[in-house]
């Protein structure tokens, strides 16, 4: 699991690559928290395009990122969702709470 980010004009883009499961999730959540605290974005794009696998641990990661952005009075959009990850997010009905593009 690899995380990269870029920040421009307080828009943060976080790109995830590899397999997102319970083993990877805790460390990833902490990394995303730190990244948001350092950059104080008003909008975050969470780019899942590089994920080769995601289970329900990804739901927890997305919800935590969403709560962090709400605390910063900002917004979160999840983009480039691969088919397998999309099925997981759809099954959880996450589209009701988070912008999935």
């Amino acid at each position: 699991m690899e995380m990269n980010y870029k920040s421009e004009n307080r828009q943060l883009t976080i790109t995830l690559t590899g397999e997102l499961d319970h083993h990877a999730a805790k460390g990833l959540m902490d990394s995303i928290d730190r990244c948001m605290e350092q950059n104080l974005p008003t909008k975050t794009l969470l780019d899942l395009g590089g994920l080769t696998f995601m289970d329900s641990s990804g739901i927890a990661v997305v919800l935590r990122a969403k709560r962090r952005m709400e605390a910063l009075s900002g917004t979160l959009v999840v983009v480039n969702i691969p088919r397998q990850a999309s099925r997981v997010l759809e099954t959880a009905g996450l589209g009701r709470y988070v912008d999935l593009v």
């Binding site: 999730a25 959540m29 990661v61 997981v88 099954t91």
Partner: protein, 148 residues
């Protein structure tokens, strides 16, 4: 109904979270002989990951323990998976199967059983407090060629 088993594997490993990827990868390799689509393979890997993670997080919250996966190919292109642990067990299986119910940490969403149920054709959970849990799942693969 008892169905004829044409092939099987058994995997036994410790409840290290690093083994989650190994478990779903190994089962996917075994299931590949049924010639599943990428989507079917993704569904199987996801269901295995959820069951194994449940065992790691809930069965053995404060120690390492044994997890046993049996994967069987049954007649009719059916993949049967059983994920077993000898951990704490589930006090109320019906409650545990409810969406968003979780006693795990923040990295769990409470959607594990819901996803297993949605991604597989059948899900059965047998558990006894203090004795462990066995999750059994079945999925028919829409094979494009017969198994040799």
């Amino acid at each position: 109904m008892k169905m004829k088993c044409t092939n099987y594997i058994t995997l036994e490993f410790l409840s290290h979270s690093a083994n989650e990827g190994f478990a779903r990868g190994a089962v996917a390799c075994f299931a590949a002989q049924l010639d599943p689509t990428l989507e079917e393979l993704g569904d199987i890997k996801t269901a295995v990951s959820e069951a194994v993670t449940n065992a790691i997080v809930h069965a053995y919250p404060d120690r390492l323990g044994k997890i046993l996966i049996k994967a069987r190919i049954l007649e009719g292109n059916i993949l049967e998976l059983s994920v077993r642990d000898w951990g704490r067990g589930i006090a109320d299986v019906e409650k545990a199967r409810q969406p968003l119910f979780s006693t795990g940490g923040e990295e769990r969403s409470g959607m594990g059983f819901t996803i297993m149920e949605s991604f597989m054709d059948r899900l059965a959970v047998r558990s006894q407090e203090g004795k462990g849990t066995r999750v059994t799942m079945r999925r028919r693969i829409q094979s494009r060629r017969p198994v040799q």
